[in-house]
Subunit: 242 residues, 2 copies
DNA sequence: GGTAATTTGTTCGTATGTATC
DNA sequence: TGATACATACGAACAAATTAC
């Protein structure tokens, strides 16, 4: 691709090279795991010093896009996974559809009283008992999201056991009499990762996470599940089709 | 609302109070600008020491949700604004629909050559000239998002002038012959705010921003506009209906 | 298995452009 | 205008890790 470096144009040379690299990766020239040209080759290609290339690579390493191994080379660390959001958002289907291997495990359950926020979302009484299930979702061995889901306990007494057995909310809810469900509303925000999720998601303190809150409803449009998901922002990209 | 404090349950009391406050604000009990009960009243309500309440308020102040003024009281600083995402996403319509006052200003324009990423999104040749327009959008006096939009220059030579005059992409594109447009795809991720946007969005370094990338298409489904928006994560919440 | 070649990492120094007071 | 600080860019040499032969 023909890209020239604009000197004295108000944009630092190292930044222009970083942008070029980013565009090449986004365009698919370098896929996840691919080895980049050596620093010297890139420097020769743009007729700049190797330090300048190193600065560009350092910037993208900081973003988690590249990984440089001494003696081996520089590699594309992670093209963020696309995560479409729609009425039929199902983690395992999304991941399998992108030639990746999904897995997950339940990391905790509990019973608690509904606060105003969750009671409103699930259309139940404040203070009524709730089931809480926390799950960690992993793609190709890398943790990508942690989800906390709440259900009305009175309606799904056997849900925790069913989920523990099947490992799938879709299956567990079917065993509890919910034939199908769909996503009604999704709210997206961003926060800094908290200390618990640092360990679970294996990301550094001070990095951002996407917060996705959603409500699933049964075919009668009755709320079934309220979920708050924290996603490693450097490993996932939400896609909203419209 | 009946909420009890669970002592010795692994969750610090101050955190439980902070969560309660957050839920009340999210639920709408306290709207933006509302004065909270005094620290003493909250302390009495939960039968905890005032220091415990202060710790909860300090945590939410750090998140930018509350603002405590000595001698006056504690106030809700910012209920995050809802920002629906769909085919007809228009900033001013969204803001006006929530009883808030939108404004904005153009903070820069330029001409640059299309890199691989943007050329692909706009279906044009790499290296062809692009118009770039940067805008700052403000709600009730508070900056909420910065957007950078790119257009094919050959197709819309008079766009910058039209936008400067009308202050609206919808109007400016109409003057350039695009009767209507709709949003085709929206990609959402999160990053840490960069040094430029710190000043524009008036947020602290190290805070997260939502990155929203979108493509607008004309009625013939031809790409017209590619936009990359950075939103202050503590002031906005994306809502995806499905 | 040993050695040379390759590639990234580190540390000097020098020069220039830019922003601020 | 000058002084100062800081970021940017280049150059040379060497260290450390990995790979290839």
């Amino acid at each position: 691709m023909q890209v020239k470096i604009d000197r004295g144009a108000g944009i630092a040379v190292w930044r222009q090279i970083a942008e070029w690299l980013k565009a090449e990766i986004a365009q698919g020239t370098f896929v996840t795991g691919a080895k980049l040209p050596t620093e010297s080759d890139i420097a020769a290609r743009f007729q700049v010093n190797r330090h300048t290339v190193r600065r560009a690579i350092a910037a993208l390493t900081g973003e988690g896009l590249l990984r440089a191994d001494q003696g081996r080379g520089t590699f594309v660390a992670s093209t963020p996974m696309n995560y479409p959001i729609g009425a039929r958002t199902r983690f395992s289907e999304i991941v399998s559809g992108q030639d990746k291997t999904p897995s997950g495990r339940m990391i905790g359950t509990g019973v608690e009283d509904a606060d105003a926020l969750i009671a409103g979302q699930l259309q139940m009484q404040v203070g009524a008992p709730l089931l809480r299930i926390e799950t960690l979702r992993v793609v190709d061995g890398t943790p990508v999201l942690v989800g906390t889901s709440w259900f009305e306990q009175a309606r799904f007494p056997g849900l925790v056991a069913a989920y523990a057995e099947t490992g799938s909310f879709t299956e567990a809810l079917r065993l509890c009499g919910v034939e199908d469900y769909s996503r009604r509303e999704t709210r997206v925000s961003a926060e800094l990762v908290d200390s618990q999720d640092i360990a679970l998601l294996e990301i550094a303190a001070g990095q951002p996470v996407l917060i996705v809150e959603s409500v699933n409803v049964d075919p009668q449009d009755r709320p079934v599940q309220y979920t708050r998901t924290r996603m490693a922002a450097d490993r996932i990209q939400l896609v909203v089709e419209s």
